[in-house]
Amino acid sequence: MKKLINNPERAVDEELAGMAAAHGDLIRIIEPNVVLRRDAPRPGKVGVISGGGSGHEPMHGGYVGMGMLDAACPGAVFTSPVPDQMLAATKAVNAGAGVLHIVKNYTGDIMNFELAAEMARAEGIEVASVVIADDVAVKDSLYTAGRRGVGGTVLAEKIVGAAAEAGADLKTVAALCQKVQDNVRSMGMALTSCTVPVAGKPTFELGEDEMEIGIGIHGEPGRTRMKLAPADEITEMLATPILDDLPFKSGDTVLAFVNGMGGTPLMELYIVFNKLAQILKGRGIAIGRSFVGNYITSLEMAGTSITLLRLDDELTRFWDAPVHTPALRWGV
């Protein structure tokens, strides 16, 4: 295992200390491992928090700040945070207007957030939860854990954070989050595995001529292992199930998000974007907004995911609204 770390058990703590040192103007770290907006709680504002395992940086800690999250709860690498974190975050951001929990659909995240929500409610805080489950690689079913929450989460946090910043109430903010979930779909693939620091070796082995299609964001294997293919074919393999699922239709306008899994150079993401733009054009779908980069990652995994969000004026307006966080900044 080759990593710039000192001690696998302390990696997340030292990371948070580094974030605090680098971004003290935007965030502060409170016990037990909560990344908190510097000026939280904001009077009258609905609090928006999220969280999940570490290893997906900049998600979620990098998205704490004006116009996005009020707090983030980073767990151990790829491990849902514990309820104590979400409880502390909920209390720290609550200004009386209630708190929204944006939860990615993983058994652990769901259960840990739910425990925290119950405890917070017991303390008199109004909590609403919205679950993001946008990964079309996973078949949706009432009898399973359902779809994973992946790239759509970043878009939801930005859009919902803007609405909360603008003063929307908890019900409105939660409904907007659900609207994002209802209009967003994603799918990912990996060229390599990644190594959980504490585990010390790659989660799975892939041959030099193989790839995994339909992966999540935890270094887990995907739906199918295949022979390596050119970028254009891979882009088709990801885009087609996304487009057919919602389904996206001719005349739609989308936010096109090409994400790197952490170890993929920008050059390759733009090559994927180039093909994605051609595919969308071929289907009569307009690209209203573009988003390209390593925004929701799996440590150093090489690979990419595509997320498409169907835009309307409201979603576009909140996407464009000012944001100022360690990882995302515009309009300010």
Binding site: G53, G75, A76, V77, F78, T79, S80, P81, V82, P83, D84, Y106, T107, G108, M111, N112, E114, L115, D135, A137, V138, K139, S141, Y143, T144, A145, R148, V196, V198, A199, T203, F204, G216, H218, G219, E220, P221, R223, T224
Partner: protein, 221 residues
């Protein structure tokens, strides 16, 4: 009848310590199982939790079994995270509620506590038998324990049968296609692999049998 061989507070502590040692021992193995169909952290998660637990045990104020189980449960909830944190946490919290205030319990009490623990896991995890989860170990183990008790078996014999049933349940997860937890994302690819949580639950039963082989009910075995 089996209620006559009491499980003492010290036995309970021994069980927890034995399990913690077993988890530490099998940490890599559990993580390896989780690599195949999950995210390579189950052993790490369980070990983090039980290391925290054994740090808490010496500080317990009185010899209340229920309080000890509750401490285990709360510690797991607060330190494990992932799916196993709330699941094992709830399991032990329910054990604690079922044994609150007791300094010793009998086999029947243990069965009732397991009933409550398993029900808690089912309530928050919403899994069914055959979904390829820890339930596939816990449910048959509890049933075997109950049947053994009904047939008048000793605590040790009953536990031996529960461990055998747990092992069968654990092995039976191998061919299953997962419907719950992270392994469900793999669809058909999850078949052919043993479930990590079912494996740690087997170790939990095994730890009880090991810890109590010479203690509770005299020095039998």
């Amino acid at each position: 009848m089996s209620g006559s061989t009491p499980i003492t507070y010290d036995d309970v502590i021994a069980w927890i310590n034995t399990f913690a040692a077993s988890v530490r021992d099998q940490k890599e193995y559990l993580t390896e199982l989780d690599s195949a169909i999950g995210d390579a952290d189950h052993g790490i998660n369980m070990d983090r939790g039980f290391q925290a637990v054994i740090g808490k045990l010496p500080g317990l104020p009185n010899r209340d079994i229920g309080a000890a189980f509750k401490t285990v449960g709360m510690t797991l909830v607060s330190t494990v995270g992932g799916a196993s944190g709330p699941l094992y946490g709830t399991f032990f919290l329910q054990l604690g509620t079922a044994t609150a205030g007791r300094e010793a319990i009998g086999l029947d009490d243990l069965i009732a506590a397991l009933d409550a623990g398993v029900a808690g896991v089912q309530r928050i995890g919403k899994a069914e038998p055959g979904d390829k989860t820890m339930l596939d170990t816990l449910l048959p183990a509890r049933d075997a324990l109950r049947e053994a008790a009904a047939s008048g078996a000793s605590l040790q014999d009953a536990l031996a049968r529960a461990v055998a049933a747990a092992e069968q349940g654990m092995l039976a997860t191998i061919p299953l296609v997962a419907r719950k937890g992270r392994a469900s994302y793999l669809g058909e690819r999850s078949a052919g692999h043993q479930d990590p949580g079912a494996t740690s639950s087997y170790l939990l039963l095994k730890a009880a049998a090991d810890a109590w082989s010479g203690a509770a009910g005299g020095t039998a075995n």
